[in-house]
């Protein structure tokens, strides 16, 4: 559905240096990378909002010279960007020609906001506003939906629920999606495949499993949450405390998740995370081994 070939873009200096990526119909692909790595620029290039080099094809159609409003591509931005002078229904129906109140109501049902049509957008909570933004983006039945850090502005608790909801909606519609995020948990939850973007190039594209088990390099390993020790990547459960272990580490923090103490520690300039059966205070010196 979407084919990118050697896509480049630059502001004052190159931001994208030749991106190749295919997204199949109904597939959700998430681009993962640090802030300022060119993720948003890639989406904006696909949407036609920034000039770019290389080839962008949507449904087999080259997008060269096609203005944003003729691309049949929907986009959800980091801030909801709901039009403040229109009510919820006005926002959702903005892209519909001719006006179609039934479709507006249907979209609001889909995102779980039945009956919100006449509400002013300033009366919505952050999560509701993002749902309206999603309904608005989906209403004109885009061939491809672009999500630009759509949950970035929300708090953690709200985010977890909303990511699942959005995923359900997108799957229900069989929507083809290209999303970007800097949050690996979000990427792993949402995506069929994750593409890691670094300095304007894709260093690895694969399923969350593949990234976790076979990271292409230590950069990807760190990005997906693996610990790197002497050039090798380890999962948290592969590292344990051991009095005679080869590495000495200083504990920097701990958290309790799903019945385990997850401890982070510094080893030779590297941060590692391991599972532990008790809470360790920051500052504690420990020895670590791998299995």
């Amino acid at each position: 559905m979407l084919r990118l070939q050697a896509v480049t873009a630059s502001y004052d200096q190159p931001v994208l240096r030749g991106i190749d990526l295919n997204v199949a119909r109904g597939e959700i692909v998430c681009i993962l990378g640090p802030s300022g790595g060119g993720k948003s620029t890639l989406l904006r290039a696909v949407a036609g909002l920034v000039p770019h080099g290389g080839l962008i094809e949507v449904a087999g159609e080259a997008m060269v010279g096609v203005p944003p409003h003729r691309r049949g591509v929907g986009m959800m931005f980091q801030d909801d960007l709901l039009f403040p002078h229109l009510d919820v229904a006005g926002n959702v129906g903005f892209g519909l020609r001719p006006a179609d109140p039934a479709r507006v109501a249907q979209m609001l049902d889909l995102v779980g906001l039945s009956g919100f049509g006449p509400r002013g957008v300033d009366t919505l909570s952050g999560g509701q506003a993002q749902r309206v933004a999603l309904a608005r983006a989906l209403a004109p039945q885009p061939r491809l939906l672009l999500l630009d850090e759509p949950f970035g502005a929300l708090d953690v608790v709200l985010k977890a629920g909303l990511v699942l909801d959005v995923q359900r909606v997108l799957r229900e519609l069989g929507m083809t999606v290209l999303a970007v995020t800097h949050d690996r948990q979000e990427a792993f939850t949402l995506a069929d495949r994750v593409a890691v973007l670094r300095d304007g190039t894709l260093v690895q594209v694969g399923t969350p499993d593949e990234l976790w088990n076979e990271p292409a390099d230590m950069y990807v390993a760190r990005l997906v949450g693996l610990s790197v020790l002497e050039g090798r990547a380890y999962r948290p459960e592969q590292i344990r405390m051991s009095a005679g272990g080869p590495w000495s580490a200083r504990v920097t923090g701990r958290t309790f998740r799903d019945g385990h103490h997850l401890v982070s520690a510094r080893v030779a300039g590297e941060t590692v995370v391991f599972v532990c059966d008790r809470a360790l205070e920051p500052g504690t010196e420990v020895r670590l081994a791998v299995t």
């Binding site: 909002l49 203005p67 409003h69 929907g74 986009m75 960007l81 039009f83 002078h85 903005f94 892209g95």
Partner: protein
């Protein structure tokens, strides 16, 4: 992330857009001012020196400075308590009072002068004749400029975090100490900036002095006008205008340095007054401020119905009788002339100022853009009289004589109104999030549709405010217009000043009727602006 990508048509487009206001300023401001300089120096250094060594010149300059200083102090004394009360306390009619204090600022100076003439003139309501005394000027200037201090200080107070003062209280400071040691130092730069603006306005005030001064009080502005209109001594007028220009530029440099940028978003710090002392204090300030603002305006209306000590509508009848003159002035023709020029000047100011605002908002702020920005404000600081004289010298006599076309007044008024338009529009254009247009584009809407359904409704309140300000400013413009109006076709303010200077009870009543009408039009426009909330945009 750069949000400006969609609207950024590159530096070529920006230059083209900014060329409009720059050329406008070059032709209508720089050329006239250059004409003033040329004529001022035309009789060689001797002519200029002659004016400069004349003891009368220094007397006039001294008086100009003195009345401006006294007026500024008077304005501060009344405005600071009013600003503190309006920003800090919740009371019935607060929104109304906030809108009311803005009304005098946009009132035509001639109308204000007429009001104070009716209050404290020879046959004034209050029974004291302060016309021809410096105190009359001080009162009128205080009335005119209250809004400057109240708005600027109010905005500064509204961005202060109330917890700052609370923190000081918790550290053991009394309320007075907390105000003096925390709040005041934080808002003092705003007060200084507002004072500088008020001083500048009073220094270049013309209409008030001309009407209230009774021919005895002479500020630089009035002296420039007298030299031109009565003495027909253009070189002397130009020399005085040069002196004025130098003084104003020096002051602008000081103002520019002292300008405070109020950062942070506004929070409502107001609360209900507590205890009888606070309640009576707030009530006193509120009632006092309201009376101060409303009384002069009511007095004009009342005075328009008074002919020879009797209630009569004779003044209004003259006003609304097309073709009927009183003392060789046709008030109804002046109404029509005023509306015609104001509408044309407003359209022109919106086109030029709008182009300037778009250009300024489009670019990233560099030195070049900042100097254009500063240049666009020049006409605001320069005296209208200098602008009027300059235009008269440059385009009002052979080889280019546009006086009889009526075009010159339109151009001058547009020039005076343009900085207001730029000031109102630029911040709004800058803060307009262009991603709204991107959203519309990815929803499949054409750029034209997005402009119509997204940009226009979102920016409309702001544009309305700019139109309102421009209309009010041009309608009341006096300093430049009085130089350029032909005797046969004066605008309303010019007609009022002529009527007030002539004898005859009906003539005077007609002057007050015309003032009332001008006041009502302006008040409707200004209160309308404030209703649109976007009027919060500080204009100076």
């Amino acid at each position: 992330m750069d949000r400006r990508v969609v609207g950024d048509h590159g530096s070529v487009g920006r230059t083209a857009v900014l060329a409009v206001p720059v050329v406008f300023l070059l032709v209508l401001f720089v050329v006239p001012v250059a004409a003033v300089v040329r004529v001022g120096l035309s009789e060689g250094p001797a002519g200029m020196l002659g004016v400069l060594v004349d003891a009368r010149t220094w007397g006039v300059l001294g008086f100009t400075l003195l009345q401006a200083a006294l007026s500024t102090v008077a304005t501060l004394i009344v405005a600071i308590p009013a600003a503190v009360v309006i920003a800090g306390y919740r009371f019935p009619g607060r929104g109304l009072l906030r809108a009311l204090v803005l009304v005098p600022f946009v009132m035509p100076t001639v109308v204000v002068a007429a009001a104070f003439l009716a209050l404290i003139g020879p046959t004034g309501l209050l029974g004291v004749d302060l016309s021809g005394s410096i105190w009359g000027l001080v009162l009128a200037h205080m009335f005119l400029n209250l809004a400057v201090v109240i708005r600027v200080l109010g905005a500064a107070l509204a961005t202060l975090d109330p917890d700052l003062e609370n923190a000081a209280r918790l550290l053991g400071a009394s309320r007075w100490q907390a105000w003096r040691r925390v709040t005041w130092p934080l808002v003092a730069p705003s007060v200084r900036a507002a004072s500088a603006i008020v001083f500048l306005f009073c220094f270049t005030s013309f209409g008030v002095v001309q009407v209230l001064g009774d021919g005895q009080l002479r500020t630089l502005e009035v002296q420039i006008y007298r030299s031109t209109a009565y003495l027909l001594d253009l070189p002397a007028a130009a020399a005085l205008a040069l002196l004025q220009l130098i003084a104003v530029v020096a002051m602008l440099v000081v103002v520019g340095r002292g300008r405070s940028v109020v950062a942070g978003s506004a929070v409502d710090i107001s609360r209900r007054p507590r205890g009888w002392r606070e309640i009576s204090l707030v009530a006193g300030v509120v009632v006092g401020t309201a009376l101060l603002v409303v009384t002069p305006l009511l007095v004009i209306a009342g005075r328009s119905l008074l002919v020879g000590g009797q209630w009569s509508t004779a003044g209004w009848q003259v006003l609304f009788s097309p073709g009927e003159t009183t003392n060789a002035v046709d008030p109804w023709a002046a109404v029509l002339a005023s509306l015609r020029t104001s509408i044309l000047a407003t359209v022109l100011a919106m086109l030029v100022g709008g182009a300037a605002a778009i250009g300024l908002a489009m670019g990233r702020r560099g030195t070049w853009l900042r100097s254009v920005d500063a240049m666009l404000l020049l006409p605001l600081g320069t005296s209208a009289v200098t602008v009027g004289l300059g235009m008269l010298l440059a385009f009002g006599r052979p080889p280019i004589d546009l006086r009889n076309t009526g075009l010159l007044i339109v151009l001058a008024q547009a020039l005076v109104a343009m900085p207001f338009v730029v000031r109102v529009l630029t911040p709004g254009f800058e803060s307009f999030d262009r991603r709204y247009l991107e959203v519309a584009a990815v929803l499949g809407r054409t750029p034209r549709h997005a402009l119509r359904t997204v940009a226009a409704p979102l920016l409309l309140p702001l544009i309305t405010v700019a139109v309102g300000f421009a209309f009010a400013v041009t309608l009341g413009e006096f300093g430049a217009t009085v130089f350029l109006a032909t005797p046969a076709d004066p605008t309303l303010p010019v007609a009022i000043s002529r009527l007030l200077a002539r004898p005859g009870e009906v003539t005077v009543a007609a002057a007050y009727a015309a003032s009332t009408m001008l006041m009502l039009i302006t008040a409707v426009v200004v209160v309308g602006i404030d209703r649109l909330r976007a009027g919060k945009a500080v204009v100076f």
